[in-house]
């Protein structure tokens, strides 16, 4: 038979256990609804993440309006390049199916810098089977072109060999370049 003091301690102990039990029970209300559906995480994150707005579309999205550029781009060497890399993303241009802003178009010296990201032969890692590279301004000197020229003064940016091939045809020099 526990003493008065013993009872008191039992009372204290039971109170603590009850409070702890209540805490663990109440914690259940704080757990988000979808938690535990697939595992130890909030399953609603999945549709939330899946419905984030996309910024890039695809090239076909651009072509759906820009059919003129589409024709040229698809026929040229740059057909594998994304419009959005050079011109910024679809979401910066179209909202609610309407154009709300113009996309930047690079000009002059900036074009050369952009071209050289891929076509610079300085970094020997560009396999010639994958991409043709040139050294600037050596390339200009080789082609007998003024050294202040930018790439797009000879190469159509969307189809780089378009004018080159035409020029070769006209001048009768149709040698293989690649």
């Amino acid at each position: 038979m526990p003493s008065n003091y013993g009872f008191r301690l039992i009372f204290v102990g039971v109170t603590i256990l009850v409070m702890a039990g209540a805490g663990l029970f109440l914690k259940g209300f704080l757990i988000p609804d979808s938690f535990g559906r697939y595992g130890s995480y909030r399953a609603d994150t999945i549709p939330e993440e899946a419905s984030l707005p996309i910024k890039h579309a695809t090239n076909s999205s651009c072509f759906s309006c820009h059919s003129y550029e589409a024709k040229i781009h698809k026929a040229g060497r740059h057909s594998t390049i994304s419009c959005e890399f050079c011109h910024s993303t679809y979401a910066d241009h179209i909202r609610d199916n309407k154009k709300f802003a113009a996309l930047p178009v690079k000009k002059e010296g900036d074009i050369t810098v952009l071209c050289l990201r891929c076509h610079n032969t300085e970094i020997k890692a560009r396999s010639q089977e994958v991409i043709k590279t040139v050294a600037m301004p050596a390339h200009l000197a080789d082609q007998n072109v003024k050294l202040t020229h930018n790439c797009n003064q000879c190469h159509h940016v969307h189809a780089p060999l378009k004018y080159i091939d035409r020029a070769r045809k006209i001048t009768g020099i149709m040698e293989k370049t690649l």
């Binding site: 003493s3 008065n4 003091y5 301690l9 204290v12 704080l30 130890s40």
Partner: protein, 393 residues
């Protein structure tokens, strides 16, 4: 290319992954294991007296419980300062992930806090009942609450108290071991980091925790008693120092074993660890942690254990050793936590860490977090007397 060159060839030039430049676990995460380590070590002293009946530790037994409680109160502070979303900290209690070592924190901390509080209450009950009778007003109410509103000091009640204390301490030892051991496992369970991922990590952390806690008790006891002009129980210091020696030898052995076994086995990416210890961490590890922090105390502990010294000399050297070991354990935590992050996962480079003054994880914050437990200890001392009348001396 031979093996040595292979390792060297990894270091053509210093390359760090772009996301590795920032050291995420900063000084607060150095402080957290340090604080729980102090709690553990202080608890060991209490356990030795209350469960294992080491009578010579009586003078510091109750004090070490209060010390543990004061530091335990502050254990969450470094963590809250570290989180980038501290307002969500309760997520650890609401949805703890069963596979994560860190998730154990909320519940383990709550249980150990409850345990230490009740231990303090039961250990101090006779004094608190007496103080209740002597005090008035607010203090009387506090003492009443702390004694479960009971004045029963009969032998039967005291016997029940003793049994409960034994049970609580008995549970307390594994709880304390988990409280600090899980921190060691947090590091030990990270396979991506070559310094951290070792089964020895919880063991090293636990033993050095005991070292830091015992040193803290010894130093605090000596300093407070000297400050108050009271005598120092030589037998108590001796037993503490002997225990400290045992734990420190184990801690140091495991720390060195860790380094040398990796170096001998030449396990994958050991070159990163060696490069770390001989490079960015050279002075912090070899000079401060090993030479100054470990070898000097080993020598001093040998002197204290083997040579017969006058009590005043013994006390003085004990205080010096304790101070050095407190520093050593802090540096060891620093070298593990921050040092481990200096190696990039690229296995090809190191980053630098520069502590700042004014940041939520800065030097000022660290100092503040270390001062708060002492303030709490001071307040606790006003409610629970550190030493009984006989021990006042």
């Amino acid at each position: 290319m031979d093996a040595a060159a292979m390792g060297a060839a990894m270091f053509g030039s210093n390359y760090v992954f772009p996301n590795d430049l920032h050291v995420h676990w900063s000084m607060m995460i150095v402080l957290y294991p340090y604080i729980t380590g102090l709690v553990d070590g202080a608890f060991i002293i209490a356990a030795l007296y209350y469960l294992f009946k080491v009578e010579s530790l009586k003078p510091v037994a109750r004090f070490s419980l209060l010390f543990a409680l004061a530091f335990l109160c502050c254990a969450t502070l470094p963590l809250l300062l570290h989180l980038t979303r501290p307002e969500r900290n309760l997520n650890m209690l609401i949805t703890p992930s069963p596979s994560s070592a860190m998730a154990g924190f909320g519940y383990i901390y709550a249980i150990s806090m409850a345990l230490v509080i009740f231990l303090v209450l039961f250990v101090y009950r006779p004094d608190l009942v007496r103080l209740r009778a002597q005090s008035s007003g607010k203090m009387k109410l506090i003492y009443r609450a702390l004694t479960f509103d009971s004045k029963d000091l009969s032998p039967r009640a005291l016997e029940l108290d003793r049994k409960i204390i034994k049970v609580l301490v008995g549970f307390g030892i594994p709880v304390a071991a988990v409280l600090h051991g899980y921190v060691g496992f947090i590091f030990g369970g990270v396979k991506a980091n070559p310094t951290w991922s070792t089964p020895l990590m919880p063991v090293i952390f636990l033993f050095s925790a005991c070292v830091s806690g015992i040193s803290a008790i010894v130093l605090a006891y000596i300093v407070i008693r000297k400050f108050k002009g009271r005598t120092i129980d030589a037998a108590c210091i001796k037993t503490s120092i002997n225990t400290l020696t045992g734990f420190f030898i184990l801690a140091f052995t495991f720390e060195m074993l860790e380094v040398f076994s990796h170096s001998y086995l030449k396990t994958g990416y050991h070159h990163m660890v060696e490069g770390l210890l001989n490079g960015p961490l050279a002075s912090s590890f070899w000079l401060w942690q090993v030479k100054i922090g470990s070898l000097i105390p080993l020598f001093l502990l040998a002197v204290l254990t083997l040579i017969r010294l006058k009590d005043s000399w013994y006390t003085f050297l004990a205080a010096v050793v304790s101070a050095i070991l407190l520093l050593q354990v802090f540096i060891m935590r620093w070298n593990v936590v921050i040092g481990g992050q200096l190696m990039s996962k690229s296995a090809r480079g190191y980053v630098e860490f520069h502590p700042v003054w004014f940041d939520k994880e800065g030097i000022i914050a660290v100092i503040a977090v270390m001062i708060i437990p002492f303030v709490i200890l001071y307040v606790l001392g006003k409610i629970f007397p550190f030493w009984s009348r006989e021990e006042m001396g």
